[in-house]
């Protein structure tokens, strides 16, 4: 293993990049990056163990392979940035590799059904979008079993990749998931993270650029019921000039003990001139009780940008909206459905596949008890 790299001092970017577990201390909960996380519940994610590796369920497209973790085609340069991701990279025996060949155009989505090996699992997924390729990859996570691991989306020059990751796990499930994206020259990335269930889910999407001109959109829709916990800790690291980033995360919470955390870190480095960035988080509280923390951070090391902004708001389900709709004859359940659909529309409408976006929307409505689709 290489020696840990120490990044330039900034509060937002990770400081340690390493594949050695010992380079990362066991979190105690006082660290800035861990202060919201349920450290005790996640204890098993901080110690290496013998867990199986997440594989594939059923038949797949030829672009999708299940490979040994030693496969030389897997990224040799990517480095974990915290203890769980270092453990997962070290302990995983296999990986799922999706290779979109150079210049190939895929009009149908490449669906990857992930299958857990057991009660607890390590995951390593890489999607390599070759230069000038165009594709959509849909990752469907398994519904039961704990998961610790990383997803890498690596875009070649002018690649166009839409990637959807759907977690609709059982209430007992814990997941710790890094999602690292590197955008090539003039490449386009659209990432959609949909989290509809699970007991403790922590996602760490990190996006950076390898060359100028990249455009990236990171969208998220998440839903919490009961006493679920979700943390989405996003970092967009603008390391290159003339790139664009746009982050929109929408969360709906219902249930006494539901707690969501959204951290939107955007770092614009001195060399990243002429960039555009915007990030937004909105949370909708459907009942009394849930808590939604929302923290956008924008750190500008250069003033030479086209635009840089952020917004964050958490609001209750609006009685005035319901009244307005009902006063036009619309029954309460349909009115609630309209409002919730309207809330998520700017994220879910980005899913090209109408069948998939429709089924996700119906799933959200069922889970919130608005409409019984089951």
């Amino acid at each position: 293993m290489r020696a840990p790299t120490v990044a330039p001092a900034t509060d937002l970017a990770p400081r340690v990049f390493s594949r050695s577990i010992e380079d990362f201390d066991v979190p105690v909960g006082r660290e800035e990056e861990w202060r919201f996380a349920p450290i005790r519940e996640l204890a098993d994610f901080f110690q290496p163990a013998v867990w199986g590796s997440v594989g594939l369920n059923g038949e797949h497209d030829v672009t999708v392979e299940y490979v040994e973790i030693s496969d030389q085609r897997l990224s040799q340069t990517w480095m974990p940035t915290d203890r769980p991701s270092a453990i997962a990279r070290e302990q995983a025996t296999h990986a799922v590799l999706v290779t979109i060949p150079k210049e190939s155009i895929h009009s149908n989505p490449i669906v990857v059904n992930l299958k857990n090996a057991g009660e607890s699992n390590y995951l390593h997924v890489e999607v390599h979008a070759g230069p000038f390729s165009k594709s959509q990859v849909v990752l469907i996570h398994d519904t039961s079993g704990n998961v610790n691991g990383s997803i890498l989306s690596l875009l070649g020059d002018q690649a166009d990749l839409t990637m959807l990751s759907v977690i609709d796990a059982d209430a007992a499930v814990m997941q710790h998931l890094h999602w690292f994206t590197e955008v090539g020259r003039d490449a386009h990335f659209l990432g959609l993270s949909i989290t509809l269930g699970g007991g403790v889910i922590r996602t760490v999407p990190t996006l950076t650029y390898r060359a100028p001109g990249g455009k990236a959109q990171m969208l998220g829709a998440f839903l919490l019921t009961g006493d679920q916990f979700q943390e989405h800790r996003i970092l967009v690291d603008h390391t290159q000039p003339h790139c664009v980033s746009n982050v929109i995360y929408k969360g709906a919470l219902s249930g006494e003990g539901a707690h969501s955390v959204w951290i939107g870190d955007v770092l614009v480095r001195r060399e990243a001139i002429g960039i555009e960035t915007y990030e937004l988080n909105r949370n909708l509280l459907l009942t009394d009780g849930p808590r939604a923390d929302s923290v956008p951070n924008l750190e500008l090391e250069t003033g030479d940008v086209i635009s840089a902004g952020h917004a964050s708001a958490t609001g209750r389900f609006d009685d005035e909206q319901l009244f307005y709709l009902q006063s036009r004859g619309i029954p309460e359940s349909v009115a609630r459905q309209l409002v919730v659909r309207g809330f998520f529309v700017d994220v879910l409408s980005k899913i090209d596949d109408a069948e998939l976006s429709g089924s996700l929307m119906r799933r959200i409505e069922s889970k919130l008890g608005i409409v019984d689709h089951e």
């Binding site: 909206q321 307005y324 006063s327 004859g329 409002v339 998520f344």
Partner: protein, 253 residues
């Protein structure tokens, strides 16, 4: 023929520090084919009356009754009242993010009529109704009331009136925020609806300006949660010239 009968209505607004009585015995009849104007000072409870008829959850009725053609309106949910034929054009229409005007209108018409309108005739009907109110067709794909100007919001309310054709319509300060041209267009919309449906209208306003376009049969003076005087159209001119001083003084005494 329809008849909305409000009898000795008392209602309070529900606030964090308890309920505050606002309506103190309102009695009023609105029949098909007639227009009742209600005029009164700020804060006298006109919007409260409108909201209570529509069933807004912020208010609670403490006594009295509201009856529509023998049906107990107070026993109905908000949407049931609308389906029974009541409509409230709101003073402050609400924004609904992510819900387009066309989707909203179609959902509403489907609920009111009990079946979805035929797609082809529906698009045509909606376009025509919008053209009548000189609304840009682009409004159909915008989100309900989001970013609408004050005047656009009011046109959108009257657009709904025309498409939904309720039996009884309550217009809460539909004239406020409209310039003269818009006022004319909106008033014509109301008059078209009145004629085609032989509807009953309860029109809440501060100014006689709108009453020159929409002729009232009866004018009520509303002060301190009650109707304190009723007269013909000429009463409106007296109120606009002299204000409510004589009535408010009497109410305080």
């Amino acid at each position: 023929m329809s008849k909305l009968t409000i009898t000795d209505l008392h209602a309070s607004v529900i606030t964090e520090d308890g309920d505050t009585p606002i309506l103190r015995g309102v009695s009023l009849v609105v029949e098909s084919g007639t227009t009742n104007a209600i005029m009164g000072p700020n804060g006298s409870g006109k919007s409260t009356l409108a909201y209570v008829i529509a069933g807004h959850p912020k208010y609670t009725v403490t006594s009295g009754s509201i009856d529509l053609d023998g049906q107990d309106v107070l026993a109905m949910t908000v949407d049931e009242r609308a389906r029974a034929g009541l409509f409230l054009a709101m003073q402050y229409p609400v924004e609904i993010p992510g819900v387009s005007v066309s989707n909203f209108l179609r959902t509403s018409i489907t609920a009111l009529k009990g079946e979805a309108p035929k797609l082809r005739t529906w698009t045509k009907d909606m376009k025509e109704a919008m053209a009548d109110l000189q609304m840009d067709p682009a409004f159909a794909s915008r989100n309900v009331n989001e970013g609408f100007s004050g005047g656009e919001k009011k046109r959108h309310e009257i657009l709904q009136l025309g498409l939904m054709q309720p039996k009884i319509a309550i217009l809460d300060e539909t004239d406020s925020g409209l310039d003269v041209d818009a006022l004319k267009i909106v008033s014509e919309g109301v008059n078209r609806y009145k004629e085609s449906s032989n509807a009953g209208v309860l029109l809440i306003t501060h100014y006689t300006r709108i009453l020159r376009y929409i002729q009232p049969d009866v004018v009520h003076v509303f002060v301190d949660g009650r109707i304190v005087a009723t007269g013909g159209p000429e009463l409106a001119d007296v109120l606009e010239a002299d204000g409510y001083e004589t009535y408010t003084a009497a109410a305080r005494a």
